[in-house]
């Protein structure tokens, strides 16, 4: 028995260990992926096995579709807000928490705690408590102390205050997680670098931050930026929960995933068009990710 379990049958044992996982991945990721590409070339309303081949029609109609291109604009606006704010806040939190001598674990927990909260619950607090557009909403109450008028945060598009609501939800939920990534990066910086800087007369504070800490955090910063952009592309939960009402989803501020959800699984069940949109989205994400990685020189050995 032990000889059978030993080195003679390595290939067999490799597949005993890896096989179930690999099989599931093929069935639930590779097959859907291939099916998605297949469906995108067919007119597939409400059917999973279409026979009406339409070539690239789904793609061209998707690219000419204002709703789809608007969703890309929504994504662009969203990431222009969320990527820099999350980056700066989580880096600032990490720098401050890292230098604490006491209560470091406490502050780390407090900032990380929202990561345990779901977007659904967070969106509920934001929508029904903080940014409720009526007098008992916390934001309006606080602003009222300073004599400001009441604002209908989520139901006004001019000015588009809903962006403030959408961005702050994600900021609250995510900043702690990225703070942990930055903290991990900070822990890896060798103390001798700081000692050398002190010997050279660098003043603690801005000089040390700019010339030692930030360059040493380069790899972490690149990874955080990539993750922020990819995650922004996949935003769904907070948009869906903040903006949709009993009467439906407003046409403004539909990010790509929300738009695809309604196209493919909404009343029309247009799976062909939805698949074409999904493939386009995947291509855009791939291009942006690879472009970013190139731009940052990710994978260059000398870093």
């Amino acid at each position: 028995m032990s000889r059978f379990l030993g080195t003679q049958n390595r290939t067999l044992w490799f597949w005993v260990f890896v096989g179930p996982f690999a099989l599931g991945l093929i069935l639930f990721t590779y097959v859907p992926l291939a099916w998605s590409v297949y469906l995108s070339f067919f007119d597939a309303h409400n059917t999973v096995s279409p026979d009406d081949f339409v070539g690239f029609d789904n793609y061209t109609s998707m690219l000419r579709n204002d709703a789809f291109t608007d969703s890309l604009v929504t994504f662009a606006v969203f990431s222009a807000f969320i990527v820099p704010t999350t980056f700066v806040l989580s880096l600032a939190l990490a720098l401050m928490v890292n230098r604490l001598r006491r209560a470091q674990a406490f502050f780390r927990s407090v900032f990380f705690l929202p990561a345990a909260c779901s977007y659904v619950v967070a969106a509920m607090i934001w929508k029904l408590s903080i940014f409720n557009g009526v007098r008992f909403g916390l934001a309006n109450t606080v602003l009222g102390w300073f004599g400001a008028d009441q604002t209908a945060w989520l139901s006004t598009t001019d000015p588009p205050w809903y962006w403030l609501v959408i961005v702050t939800v994600r900021l609250w939920l995510q900043a702690g997680f990225y703070m942990i990534l930055f903290l991990a990066g900070l822990q890896r910086i060798s103390p001798t670098l700081y000692e050398a800087a002190a010997v050279d007369g660098a003043r603690p504070g801005w000089q040390v931050l700019r010339h030692i800490t930030l360059p040493q955090l380069r790899a972490t910063s690149v990874a955080v930026t990539l993750l922020l952009v990819i995650n922004a592309f996949q935003a769904f939960d907070e948009f869906y929960n903040l903006l949709s009402t009993s009467s439906g989803y407003p046409p403004h501020a539909r990010p790509p995933l929300v738009y695809l959800y309604y196209t493919a699984l909404g009343r029309e069940q247009n799976l062909g068009l939805g698949s074409a949109g999904a493939v386009l989205l995947a291509l855009i994400i791939a291009v942006v990710t690879i472009g970013q990685a190139r731009w940052f020189g990710l994978g260059r050995k000398e870093d």
């Binding site: 379990l5 044992w13 490799f14 597949w15 260990f17 890896v18 179930p20 996982f21 690999a22 599931g24 991945l25 990721t29 097959v31 859907p32 992926l33 998605s36 469906l39 999973v48 939190l93 401050m96 604490l100 502050f107 927990s109 990380f112 705690l113 929202p114 909260c117 779901s118 977007y119 659904v120 619950v121 969106a123 509920m124 607090i125 929508k127 029904l128 408590s129 903080i130 007098r135 109450t141 609250w172 702690g176 997680f177 903290l183 991990a184 900070l186 822990q187 103390p191 002190a198 790899a219 990874a223 993750l227 996949q234 995933l257 695809l260 959800y261 799976l271 939805g274 999904a278 493939v279």
Partner: protein
């Protein structure tokens, strides 16, 4: 020269002459941190406050920090309300989160061990094929995954909610990295004792790897409990609603009363906060170990 502090970056020594300035800066930092911490805690406070307040207290135009009285009865009202399938949703979410966590740990750890430790010609190819799925955005697969699950007849079943989510490339990746660094001496000792791969894995490797299992398990559990898009797509019948889908449905339908909604949301995060606070240091370790920024 002071001895270097083990494992932690020391704050730069206060060698500058303007000590007062440095001290003022430090005080400012602490004040800022406390202010930010309070800001981060406010949403949790609002959740609990509104969950335990009466509906009048929530909608009162004169907002107060503390509700006039605490209504613990909101909790029983939530579970007695026949229009709110909250008990069922909590049960579904618990079943899904526990099963997904156990299933992911078993499948991903076995695969990670195989990839790291069993010599096989095409091991690297298999590994890259697995890693590649991490780059596939959820947007691309949720439509065809729905199609697949519905053609299996799994819509609105727990199977449909659980099985497709069991194959986490991320978890497999973490396990592989961890097992690559696992001390070989322990395995060699087991080998000398005549144990094969299978028994070496279960009797030697797993018992000595508890922290990484705790880290991955916690991350998977939280992800499964909080996931929304997939349960929304698959859990179409009320009977198959998860906590998140139930809450979202109530929020947009606005039939339900506010205090019930808030107590439901508060109840929904209790299990998670317990898991989270208990396992937090393992999550941190898991993030640091994932090599995400290397």
């Amino acid at each position: 020269m002071t001895a270097p502090v083990k494992g932690r970056v020391p704050a730069p020594r206060d060698r500058s002459t303007d000590d007062a300035l440095v001290r003022a800066g430090r005080a400012l930092r602490v004040v800022l941190l406390i202010a930010l911490a309070l800001l981060f805690l406010i949403p949790f406070y609002l959740l609990v406050r509104n969950g335990l307040a009466s509906e009048d207290d929530i909608t009162s135009p004169d907002w107060t920090f503390f509700p006039s009285t605490l209504h613990w009865s909101n909790i029983s009202e939530l579970f007695d309300d026949p229009t709110v399938p909250m008990a069922r949703a909590l049960l579904n979410s618990s079943l899904i989160a526990v099963t997904t966590t156990i299933g992911t740990l078993v499948l991903a750890s076995l695969a990670g061990y195989g990839l790291a430790r069993i010599p096989y010609r095409y091991a690297d190819h298999v590994f890259y094929a697995i890693l590649g799925t991490m780059m596939v955005p959820a947007a691309v697969t949720f439509v065809p995954s729905f199609v697949l699950v519905s053609s299996l007849g799994w819509v609105s079943t727990l199977r449909g909610l659980i099985v497709p989510t069991l194959f986490s490339a991320f978890a497999c990746f973490i396990f592989r990295q961890y097992f690559l660094g696992f001390p070989r001496e322990l395995e060699d000792a087991a080998r000398v004792d005549g144990l094969g791969y299978w028994r070496t894995y279960w009797r030697v490797v797993v018992p000595n790897s508890r922290p990484v299992f705790a880290a991955v398990g916690t991350i998977v559990f939280i992800g499964a409990w909080n996931s929304f898009l997939w349960p929304l797509v698959i859990g179409q019948d009320r009977e198959a609603w998860t906590v998140q889908v139930a809450l979202a449905t109530f929020t947009t339908s606005q039939v339900i009363r506010l205090h019930v909604l808030f107590v439901a949301a508060a109840v929904s995060i209790v299990p998670l906060l317990v898991v989270f606070l208990f396992f937090q240091r393992w999550i941190v370790a898991g993030v640091e170990r994932s090599g995400i920024d290397d």
